[in-house]
């Protein structure tokens, strides 16, 4: 390099020190959702009564425009169930803030698909966690596969090209990678795969559905072979330790180049870290988004040089960088040690060594639906119940029974009648 005799700091070095504005951010518009996916990273279901108003959302967009944040990833909950969803989206795209939104497809009617096709600055991402209804619905709920496919068909029919099919990789769908790719090709979509984090409700199911170690290798090999046309949201950089660095920026951008704004305006370091520990401030009560992004103590700390802790001596530190902060936090591992899915197996060792009665950090706020079958909880034990107390001595007395002697059994009669 003739222009720079000394080693210039790499882009990653700059990013780790944090930028004046995020490169992009995730904005969960609502915690309300029509589904109850068992691995929901924001533990969504019910709308928060303090949800930001339309006006407050527009103020955030004005700020993002001033900060030159060129696009936001809108999610939820199910963002399209907000009655002002399109108003917010169109306000953003007409103020130089492009929108990519994630949806389960529930409101992607032919009309909505046409609206997306006409706008040109809206990118859609349909969430699908199985290439078949069987695998998908086990996690996302009955009927959710059909919902997503109907939305994909509507988008295709409206001529929306290159929308995304977004898949969270689990031990059940890693064997379906080729099928996902074929599905994306069929609908003229782009496949986007991301890593399952033990965040939100996933804290309860992570042990049962996160990829097995040999599947991580399978995923890595598949990405090396097919990665060109597949998006990864930069989420598999911990797999780079298998060999070659995967395409993408390969760093944890939390609080440095990305962050999350939640439906009530709370700003967190990243979408996978909705917990008080990673909350930087609030857009309404702390003077706006820019003030939080630029001044929050938590973000200042995250932008300090990191030591690497237990991983400092590892030969793969340069590519893996200790993995995902949220994955460590929610599995009860130290933040300056290996990722629970460390490809060298060091995280697995730590997981095995955890105290049996360790309390995992739980989401600070949980808006899960209160109804429907209760979701499975970690470490749940069978509860012993006694069923059957023998046949009742006599039929129960109806509440409508008008006989003044209803339920009255004369002394001696019971003995006589039971013989």
């Amino acid at each position: 390099m003739t222009l720079a005799p000394e080693r210039r700091p790499s882009l990653i070095d700059h990013f780790e020190r944090g930028l004046d504005s995020p490169i992009c951010l995730t904005w969960e518009l609502t915690y309300a959702c029509n589904l109850s996916c068992s691995h929901c990273l924001s533990a969504s279901g019910r709308r928060d009564p303090n949800e930001l108003s339309t006006e407050q959302c527009k103020e955030i967009i004005d700020e993002l425009q001033r900060m030159q944040v060129f696009y936001v990833n809108i999610g939820g909950g199910e963002p399209t169930v907000r009655s002002d969803f399109w108003e917010i989206v169109e306000y953003a795209t007409s103020h130089d803030v492009g929108v990519k939104f994630s949806t389960n497809g529930v409101r992607i009617t032919p009309e909505a698909a046409q609206r997306i096709a006409d706008n040109g600055y809206i990118d859609v991402q349909i969430s699908l966690d199985g290439a078949t209804a069987e695998v998908n619905d086990a996690l996302r709920g009955k009927g959710s596969f059909d919902l997503a496919v109907r939305a994909m068909q509507n988008l295709k029919d409206a001529g929306v090209e290159g929308f995304k099919i977004s898949v969270v990789m689990t031990r059940h769908n890693i064997p379906q990678l080729d099928e996902f790719k074929a599905l994306a090709d069929e609908y003229g979509a782009t496949l986007r795969i991301t890593r399952l984090r033990p965040s939100g409700r996933a804290v309860d199911v992570w042990d049962d559905i996160h990829p097995r170690p040999e599947q991580q290798r399978e995923l890595y090999d598949w990405l090396v072979a097919h990665g060109e046309g597949v998006l990864t949201g930069d989420s598999f950089f911990h797999l780079s330790a298998y060999g070659q660095t995967l395409p993408g920026l390969n760093l944890c951008g939390a609080g440095r180049v990305v962050c999350l704004i939640d439906p009530v305006g709370d700003v967190y370091a990243c979408p996978f870290a909705i917990h008080d520990e990673f909350k930087a401030g609030n857009t309404v009560t702390d003077g706006g988004f820019a003030a939080v992004w630029r001044g929050a103590e938590l973000f200042t700390e995250l932008r300090e040089p990191q030591t690497g802790g237990a991983c400092a001596g590892c030969q793969f530190m340069d590519t893996c960088r200790g993995g995902c902060m949220a994955a460590k936090f929610f599995t009860g591992l130290p933040l300056d040690g290996p990722d629970p899915e460390c490809v060298r197996g060091l995280g697995e060792e730590l997981l095995q060594g955890r105290e049996a009665d360790l309390e995992f950090p739980r989401p600070s706020v949980d808006r899960s639906h209160r109804t429907s079958p209760p979701r499975p909880r970690a470490k749940s034990r069978p509860v012993p119940v006694s069923i059957g107390m023998g046949a009742p001595a006599r039929p129960p007395v109806s509440a409508c029974e008008i006989d003044p002697l209803a339920g009255f059994v004369p002394p001696g009669a019971a003995t006589a009648s039971s013989s």
């Binding site: 390099m1 003739t2 210039r8 882009l11 998006l231 993408g248």
Partner: protein, 112 residues
């Protein structure tokens, strides 16, 4: 000249629109009006609203060059105006070519 420019793969679309045009430094080029430039300490961040592609310019001279292109009748004239040395120009031409490939730069007709 690797290192002047990083094309982020995180937001690109499956198919690049790419003009497919060869950037001849003797001709006029301009920044695509659909591309926004955000200054950064390391250079700049470019965002293309059409392709939703991000690019990072890791060199402040390259940023000056890209933003000045529209003011001159050719890329060579821009080099001269910015005082970019002859031996450094091929590196900049290949960086500009990559930006042209991703639709960030367009041939300019203003000076024809």
């Amino acid at each position: 000249m690797r290192g002047l420019l990083t094309l982020a793969t995180t937001t690109h679309r499956a198919v690049d629109p790419g003009s497919g045009l060869v950037l001849d430094p003797g001709t006029a080029w301009t920044l695509n009006p659909r591309v926004a430039v955000r200054p950064e300490p390391f250079g700049a961040l470019l965002y293309h609203f059409g392709t939703r592609r991000l690019s990072f310019l890791k060199d402040t001279r390259l940023v000056d060059l890209v933003t000045a292109l529209a003011d001159f009748p050719s890329v060579d004239a821009t080099f001269a105006a910015l005082g970019i040395a002859e031996d450094a120009r091929p590196g900049y031409v290949s960086a500009l070519q990559r930006l042209a490939d991703t639709d960030m730069l367009l041939p300019s007709t203003d000076h024809a």
